[in-house]
C-alpha cells in the first residue's frame, strides 16, 4: 500500500472551539504509545463516507513529545467536497478510525538562530506543535497570528496566556494587519521565516522576504490544498488497463484508489510531489491546482498531480 504506515485510533475527545473549528483527539486502539513526531508534521485521516473514502491531511497540533494521543483541529469548509463537514458531523467520541503515521513537510530548520512564524487562520495548527518543541529546546521564536475576528481566533487565549511576549495577534475585522516590511526589516542574521495560511498570505510573505534579500533556504511555507469538486470526467489508466470515472466530489487520486489501483501518495494536498503521474495522451484541458509542478510542466500536458488536480475534456490517458 502507498502512503505512510497506518494506525488504528479511537476518537477520545471532540471539542468545538468556535463556529468553524473543532478539535479531535485520537488515542491508539491497541494501547501503547503513538510514534513521536516533529513540529509541523501532519497525519492523513481516512474518512469512510458510504462508498467514498476520503483521506485528508491535518497538521498535528499536540505536543510532539506526548505519545499518548494526537490532536488535530479541523476548520469546517462548507464549499469543499465534504471532508471537513464529515469530520464535524459524523465523527464522535468512541469512533474508531484510521490515520497515517506522521509525515513532516514543514519542519523547523534547527540551524536557525531565530524562528519567525506567521500564521493565518487555521494555519495556526502546525505552529502549536512547533512552539511546544521549541520551548523544550529553549528556542528563540515569535509568532504573528492573523485571524478574522476574536470569535474565530482559535487558540488565541491559550497562546497569549502562555507566551504573552512572543505572540502578536491581528484581527481582520478590527482592521489590524501584519506590518510585514517592518517585521522583516531588522531581524537578526540567521532568522528563518515560517508561514502557514491562505495562498495569498504565503505568496505575500515569500515575495516580500525574497525582495528584501532573504535567502530561499530561510523561507518555509505550507499550504494544504483540499481537492476541489469539479465536473466528472473519464480517465484511462494505461498500466492497469482500466477506464475509471472521476465523480464530481472525489479527487482523481481517490477515484484511482477506488478502482483498486495502488497509486503513490503522501500529503494528498499538492505539496509533496509523491503522486506525480505521467500523462500518455489527452484531449482537453488540465485544471492544475498543485504547487509542486513548475509552470512549464503544467503547460506541457505531460504531468498531473492527481491528489488535487482535475481534467475537463474528451480523453485522458495516464501512465498508472
Amino acid at each position: 500500500m502507498s502512503g505512510a504506515e497506518k494506525i488504528a485510533v479511537r476518537v477520545t475527545e471532540v471539542s468545538p472551539l468556535n463556529e468553524l473549528v473543532t478539535r479531535f483527539k485520537f488515542e491508539p486502539v491497541a494501547g501503547g504509545l503513538l510514534p513521536t513526531f516533529s513540529g509541523g508534521a501532519h497525519t492523513v485521516v481516512e474518512m469512510r463516507d458510504g462508498d467514498i473514502t476520503r483521506m485528508n491531511p491535518y497538521s498535528l497540533m499536540s505536543d510532539p513529545f506526548d505519545q499518548t494521543a494526537y490532536t488535530i483541529s479541523v476548520r469546517r469548509d462548507d464549499e469543499g467536497r465534504g471532508g471537513s463537514l464529515f469530520m464535524h458531523k459524523n465523527i464522535s467520541v468512541g469512533d474508531e478510525i484510521t490515520i497515517s503515521n506522521p509525515v513532516n513537510l514543514f519542519s523547523l530548520d534547527l540551524r536557525a538562530k531565530k524562528h519567525l512564524m506567521i500564521a493565518g487562520g487555521i494555519g495556526i495548527t502546525p505552529f502549536l506543535a512547533q512552539i511546544k518543541q521549541l520551548d523544550r529546546a529553549h528556542g528563540n521564536w515569535e509568532l504573528h497570528y492573523s485571524c478574522r475576528s476574536e470569535a474565530l481566533g482559535s487558540y488565541v487565549d491559550y497562546l497569549t496566556n502562555t507566551h504573552p511576549n512572543d505572540v502578536e495577534v491581528y484581527y481582520d475585522d478590527q482592521k489590524q494587519a501584519i506590518d510585514l516590511e517592518n517585521l522583516l526589516d531588522g531581524q537578526p542574521l540567521g532568522t528563518h521565516i515560517y508561514v502557514c495560511g491562505p495562498k495569498g498570505m504565503i505568496d505575500w510573505v515569500r515575495g516580500k522576504a525574497t525582495e528584501l534579500g532573504w535567502p530561499r533556504e530561510a523561507i518555509h511555507y505550507e499550504e494544504f490544498l483540499a481537492p476541489q469538486p469539479g465536473k466528472p470526467f473519464e480517465v484511462k489508466l494505461a498500466v492497469s488497463n482500466k477506464v475509471i470515472q472521476v465523480g464530481e466530489r472525489e479527487s482523481l487520486l481517490e477515484a484511482i484508489e477506488r478502482a483498486g489501483v495502488d497509486a503513490p501518495y503522501l500529503c494528498r494536498g499538492g505539496a509533496c510531489g509523491m503522486c506525480e503521474t505521467s500523462v500518455i495522451d489527452y484531449s482537453g484541458n488540465f485544471i492544475h491546482r498543485d504547487h509542486w509542478l513548475e509552470e512549464d510542466e503544467h503547460a506541457s500536458g505531460k504531468k498531473i498531480m492527481p491528489c488535487v488536480s482535475r481534467f475537463e475534456g474528451k480523453t485522458l490517458v495516464l501512465d498508472r
Partner: protein, 198 residues
C-alpha cells in the same frame, strides 16, 4: 589571467560561480589578492553605497582600485587571520537581508564561508567566485594539522612531515581538503611531485 577552470570532480569538491548583485539590505564582500577583480566586475555605485569590503591584498596592488569604488566601508587586512575578528563582528551585528560575496583563493572563500555559515547564513545562499591562485588549504587526516597554500601533489605535511596525497574530498566545517599519507604501505615510495591539476 586570474580565472581557472577547475576540472569536474566528485560532489564533495566545491564549485564556484560568478558574483552577481542581489537584492539586499547590506552587502559584505570579502576577497583576497586577484579576488578584487571579481568585486570590480560586479560593482555599481548603488551596490557600493551599501557594501562593506574586507580585502586582503597578499602582495597585489588592487586595494586602491577597490577604495576608488567608494564602498560604504573598506578594510584592508594584512592576513586572513588578522581580518577574521572583524568578519565575525560584522556578521554578529548583521541583519537578515545581508548578502555575502566571497572572491579569491579557495582557502579565503572556504574560511569566510565557514564564518558566514556559523552566523546563520545557509551555505547555498553565499556567493563565491574563484580568482587567482589555485593553491589549496589542506588538512592532514593523520595529525589534523592545516597546511596553507598547497600547490603540489603529493606534498609534505607542515606539521607531522608525512607525504600526503591531495584529495578532492572537502570539508566545509574545516574549510580544507583532505590530505592522506601516500606511502603508508610502502614507506619511501613517493611518486614525483607535480602541480595539482597537471
Amino acid at each position: 589571467m586570474s580565472k581557472f577552470e577547475f576540472p569536474p570532480s566528485i560532489r564533495s569538491r566545491p564549485v564556484y560561480g560568478t558574483l552577481e548583485a542581489r537584492p539586499g539590505k547590506t552587502h559584505l564582500m570579502i576577497a583576497d589578492a586577484e579576488g578584487a577583480e571579481a568585486i570590480l566586475a560586479v560593482a555599481t555605485p548603488d551596490l557600493m553605497a551599501a557594501t562593506h569590503i574586507i580585502y586582503i591584498p597578499k602582495g597585489t596592488d588592487y586595494a586602491d582600485k577597490l577604495r576608488a569604488l567608494k564602498p560604504a566601508q573598506f578594510y584592508e587586512g594584512p592576513t586572513y587571520a588578522a581580518s577574521v575578528t572583524r568578519i565575525q563582528r560584522v556578521l554578529q551585528d548583521a541583519q537578515m537581508g545581508l548578502q555575502v560575496y566571497l572572491a579569491g583563493t579557495e582557502g579565503l572563500m572556504g574560511q569566510a564561508q565557514n564564518e558566514a555559515m556559523k552566523a546563520g547564513i545557509p551555505h547555498t545562499a553565499i556567493q563565491t567566485e574563484h580568482r587567482g591562485s589555485i593553491a589549496r588549504r589542506m588538512q592532514c587526516v593523520h595529525c589534523k594539522g592545516i597546511t596553507e597554500d598547497v600547490e603540489t601533489d603529493p606534498f609534505v605535511c607542515s606539521h607531522c612531515g608525512l607525504n600526503l596525497f591531495v584529495r578532492d574530498h572537502y570539508s566545509r566545517r574545516l574549510a580544507a581538503y583532505q590530505g592522506v599519507c601516500i606511502d603508508a604501505e610502502d614507506p619511501g615510495n613517493v611518486p614525483p611531485q607535480k602541480g595539482i591539476y597537471e
